[in-house]
């Protein structure tokens, strides 16, 4: 089987959550891939499944959720089939994750240095107290004063500083992939710019790939090489950042780009009519069809396949005929 991404290749990923309201089909066959050292932006609105995708890649989906189908090939291994023990040796070592709310993802009763040391100790199988020289290097690398911060508790740090600590913790083990789930949404714009600059600089230095989950098209345009657009649990479009902004193909991507206000733009914003569907009872066929201005009969019946329209530009939409169908597994 040929992989589309050398580092990570997710295919037909389906995740459901069993709630009292019924089964929430959060991911409905997500396709996603990355090469080493690449920066992929995963964008979409609330409930599109971008965070669930990242959690599934980390194998952090917990009850009542479940990965039902699909493959997550990371570095040659299918993570879906790995035992929890083996997964523990990958998680936090070969791939790590940083979250949206840095202050609530740090342990409030442990000193910052100890928390970073834990990750290093685990990957190198040494004692935490022996990791401190490395912890100091890491803190310096993320732009903090190690002497001051190493013995601080998270409440003594500002939001921006906490996010720097999180990034330090994530990169301390030199992972191949760093997943950043809305790393700057809780921060002010000036601090956001600092953090993005830091992520950029460190990724260059350490050569790790970054999967950046965000809803902010501006952040994507500035940071990412490739973009995956998600809608209601499906991958709808994938292309290089330049291509996607220049020539979005999927009606949803186009709508999203036109809805974003920006400085220097005074024409009327075009909104996408309707709202994001309820995933307990998603629309049949293409999940975007009730909101799509170009919906055809077939859109209501069948889910469009995710196909390559032009080199390295994939779309799931019947408006476009692919060069060749994306692989049919099985």
């Amino acid at each position: 089987m040929e992989l589309r991404g050398k580092l990570l290749d997710v295919s037909n990923l389906k995740v459901s959550f069993y709630t009292y309201r019924g089964v929430v089909k959060a991911l409905n066959g997500v396709e996603l891939w990355m090469d080493s050292g690449e920066r992929l932006g995963v964008v979409g609105e609330t409930g599109c499944g971008k965070s669930v995708t990242s959690l599934a890649v980390m194998r952090l989906i917990e009850q009542p959720g479940e990965i039902q189908e699909g493959k997550i090939i990371f570095n040659g291994k299918n993570l879906v089939e790995l035992s929890e023990e083996k997964m523990n040796n990958i998680r936090g070592v070969e791939m790590s994750m940083i979250f949206q709310e840095p202050r609530s993802s740090l342990n409030p009763v442990m000193k910052v240095g100890y928390q970073i040391g834990e990750a290093i100790a685990k990957s190198k199988k040494i004692k935490i107290k022996n990791t401190y020289p490395e912890v100091k290097d890491m803190l310096r690398l993320v732009g903090l004063d190690p002497e001051r911060v190493i013995n601080s508790y998270p409440h003594e740090l500002s939001g921006g500083m906490s996010q720097r600590v999180m990034i330090g913790m994530g990169l301390a083990t030199h992972p191949k992939l760093l997943i950043a789930d809305e790393p700057t949404s809780a921060l002010d714009v000036t601090i956001q710019a600092q953090i993005l600059e830091l992520l950029d600089e460190l990724a260059r230095k350490m050569g790790n790939a970054v999967m950046l989950i965000t809803h902010d098209m501006g952040v994507v345009a500035e940071f990412c090489d490739k973009v995956l657009v998600m809608y209601a649990g499906n991958s709808v479009e994938y292309a290089s950042t330049a291509r996607l902004f220049e020539k979005p193909l999927h009606p949803y991507t186009g709508g999203l780009l036109q809805a974003v206000p920006r400085v220097g733009r005074t024409d009327e914003l075009k909104a996408i009519k309707g709202t994001v569907p309820d995933l307990v009872n998603p629309p049949s066929g293409c999940r975007f069809h009730p909101r799509c201005p170009h919906a055809m009969d077939i859109c209501k019946l069948e889910r469009p396949p995710f196909v390559e329209i032009e080199p390295d530009h994939y779309v799931a939409c019947y408006l476009f005929k692919g060069k060749n169908e994306v692989r049919e597994d099985g």
Partner: protein, 321 residues
């Protein structure tokens, strides 16, 4: 000459901080010496990062928080001394829409009662008239009259924000504070809500104070802009002037930090160093001097005045750009 709807002079809102009974009394200077004229019919944007005092300013203007000192005039009348009936009338004219529509609507009241409550206080009209008015307001904000018999949890975020806005305009106010009205919404929904706000403003002859941290929204919706930093206004003027020629280094860097959704746009990398200082103990001199790339020792010593560098363009800086 455009009429001024709201005139703010030397406004200060301080909050006391309790440290210990022996220490000196400390204050959070949330709003410090703000002067502002909001012209009638304008959309006046107040921009700033967290802790800049933009929300406190708006709430003080509405007298939801009492100021420490200063003056606020609404249509030429001082509102700080008002009581009873007069205050009630001013309150009707000044409404607010909050940031988070998930918390600002009562979960156990029908939409009809949420929107209608104000009318029972301010207007002497019958139940039927109230119902008709609610129906027409709901239509105006893009909902249907049947929605008045539902509860808030039955609506999406965008719809809830429309309801919150309906509650504000139902009393026929002249002035509405919009406190980050779209920051809890997705972009596609945000676009619709912004459009509605723009349309209704013209129909109802409203004046907006638009509080936000998002500069892109300001360019879309505002006529005038005030940029706040640690309780003070650092730059104020027409939107076009401020966006084309930002004169305060803070405004300039704030704009440089705003991500642009266009990969072809290559910016010079200019980052603001440091973090926002505390408003309990703001830096001496110019409050921005420790983060400013152009600061010298004069900035650390002497506090700059907010002065007019061009007609209608005010900047608080010794060395405007």
């Amino acid at each position: 000459m455009v009429e001024t709807l709201i005139k703010i002079r030397d406004l200060k809102t301080y909050f006391p901080v309790k440290k210990s009974i022996f220490s000196k009394k400390l204050f959070v200077r949330a709003v410090d010496n703000v002067n502002m004229d909001v012209p009638k019919g304008s959309t006046f944007a107040v921009v700033g990062e967290s802790g800049s005092g933009k929300t406190t300013l708006a709430r003080t203007v509405l007298r939801l928080i009492e100021p420490t000192s200063g003056e606020i005039e609404f249509e030429g009348k001082d509102i700080l001394g008002l009581r009873g009936k007069d205050l009630l009338e001013v309150r009707r004219n000044m409404q607010i829409v909050f940031q988070d529509p998930y918390n600002s609507l009562h979960p156990r009241k029908l939409i009809k009662n949420i929107i209608g409550e104000g009318m029972k206080i301010h207007f002497k009209i019958s139940e039927i008239e109230i119902r008709d008015r609610i129906a027409s307001v709901l239509k105006e904000v893009g909902l249907i009259d049947d929605h008045m018999y539902r509860y808030a949890h039955e609506f999406s975020g965008g719809q809830r924000q429309r309801i919150a806005f309906a509650r504000a305009i139902v009393l026929k106010p002249k002035f509405i504070v919009l406190d980050e009205p779209t920051s809890a919404l997705d972009v596609s929904v945000q676009a619709m809500v912004l459009k509605m706000l723009k349309e209704i403003k013209v129909q109802e002859n409203l004046t907006y104070m638009f509080i936000t941290h998002n500069l892109s929204l300001v360019d879309y919706i505002a006529d005038k802009v005030a940029v706040m930093y640690v309780g003070e206004v650092v730059e104020m003027g027409d939107k076009t002037t401020i966006f084309k020629h930002p004169s305060h280094p803070y405004t300039d860097l704030l704009m440089a930090s705003n991500p642009i959704p266009d990969p072809k746009f290559v910016r010079e990398k200019r980052l603001m160093k440091g973090e926002i200082p505390s408003s309990i103990n703001p830096p001496s001199g110019c409050r921005f001097h420790n983060r400013c790339p152009f600061a010298d020792e004069r900035c650390a010593r002497e506090e700059p005045e907010l002065r007019e560098i061009k007609p209608g363009h005010l900047v608080r800086c010794h060395y405007p750009l």
